[in-house]
Amino acid sequence: MSELNNQNRHNYSKYDEMSTEALEQILRLDFGSLDETESDIDAILYISEVIEKRKRQSNEIDVDTAWEKFKTKYHPYTDGRSLYDFGDEDSNQTSEEGISKISLHNGRNLLRFRRLMIVAALLVACLFGGIMVAQASGIDVLGVVGRWTDETFHFITAGSRELSTHKVDSEFYETVELTLDEWGIDKDLFPTWHPEGFVAQEPRVANLNDSDTISVSFKEKDRSYSVRISCFYVPTAETGSFEKDDVLIEEYLHNGDIFYIFTNIDTITATCYDGECMTTIGGSLTVDELKHIIDSIGGN
């Protein structure tokens, strides 16, 4: 059995100082973005070990009982596939094919984990020390907060991708529609109009415990915004919260749905939740641009 080597242990030792909550948040963020890039599995192992050691002290983990259950309840009845692999189109690869293509040592992963570290630091800073702590660290807090106050935590890649050369075209629109279709959503939720000069980035998908989310960012030289659609497995009152200025919220009606429009410093956001899916459009836009984007939902 291989173990983390000393070099890796040294590199990952920074996780030792972080709170369990922050470490668990890193794991969730990483898992939620697995569709776009693979994990640094050694970091996952290290973080899990750190948390495990803390929990073992409180006797929360009983390996012997689990082993007995494995031998008597699970292993004798395995059919060679995962319990949740029904051999249909919904089944993901859970065996070698899904693993062999993944390199266990990837420099890009290390960079990605550093970003997650920043996110966790922000989380802790904003929870316990206020935003100013993070700002003092040279982090673009305002660019991040709008994201990490919503449920999908898409801020993890904020500023981390270079501008795509793709134009706003049907390719990404089709990708979004196909993804929504796969999720069983047959409504037109993605806007078809975007302000001139903005370039679409590749759609990103995150699968969380209670929802699936797809988002597309649009960037021009000095401005950016994103369109995000979150589909919840069951109707929920916990769709996340947004930071906003102390001004009135405008209700904007489109195709029978109410979009709530509000501002937060230099950004503007519109969000609508129909009981199944939440559509959120936000970023550096004018009110007119935002409403024009909303109006194009449904193919108008």
Binding site: S2, K69, D88, I99, G184
Partner: protein, 166 residues
């Protein structure tokens, strides 16, 4: 399974070493200790099938964590799909009439199962967040039988709704 017996000690040691870490990781992701345990057990079942290959690997711990990630993604995906099928089903007025298996199916004829019972089983797994093992024990069946019945009901509902859409 017989060719895996010689590797049992290796698996046992790996289990002792890795279970805590994997369970910790899965609990962080799934936010449910029972489902987390099932995901880890599932990953080790896959390891048992692949043990001859994995034992030669440089980093079997990493391999296991990758498998666990895939198991959890698959678990989430399947639960999402089945949740939507159940939600759609519950909106149908004549659901009781629809919940009848095709009697030409040999498994149904000789398996002594009903679509209604399978629907209850599916709801336990999906809506009540039961693990397959928990649901199996409540229904007095093995985890393998539970999987088959969940799978069958899922296919059944899919077929019914495809028909109703056309």
């Amino acid at each position: 399974m017989s060719n895996h017996i010689s590797n049992e000690d290796w698996i046992s040691r790996l289990y002792q070493e890795m279970y805590g870490r994997m369970f910790t990781y899965a609990t962080s992701i799934l936010n449910d200790r029972t489902l987390a345990e099932e995901a880890v057990q599932d990953a080790f079942c896959i390891l048992c099938i692949k043990v001859d290959e994995v034992i030669e690997k440089e980093n079997p711990n990493g391999w296991l964590m990758r498998v666990l990630q895939n198991v959890m993604r698959n678990m989430n995906r399947q639960r999402t799909t089945m949740n939507r099928l159940i939600m759609t089903s519950l909106q149908v007025e004549n659901l009781e009439e629809i919940l009848v298996y095709d009697e030409e199916d040999v498994d149904i004829l000789y398996g002594d199962v009903s679509a209604r019972a399978d629907f209850q089983l599916l709801k336990r797994v999906v809506l009540d967040n039961y693990s397959m093992l928990e649901a199996a024990e409540e229904f007095g069946i093995t985890v393998d039988a539970c999987k088959k019945r969940v799978q069958r009901m899922k296919q059944f509902l899919r077929k019914k709704f495809q028909i109703s859409k056309t």
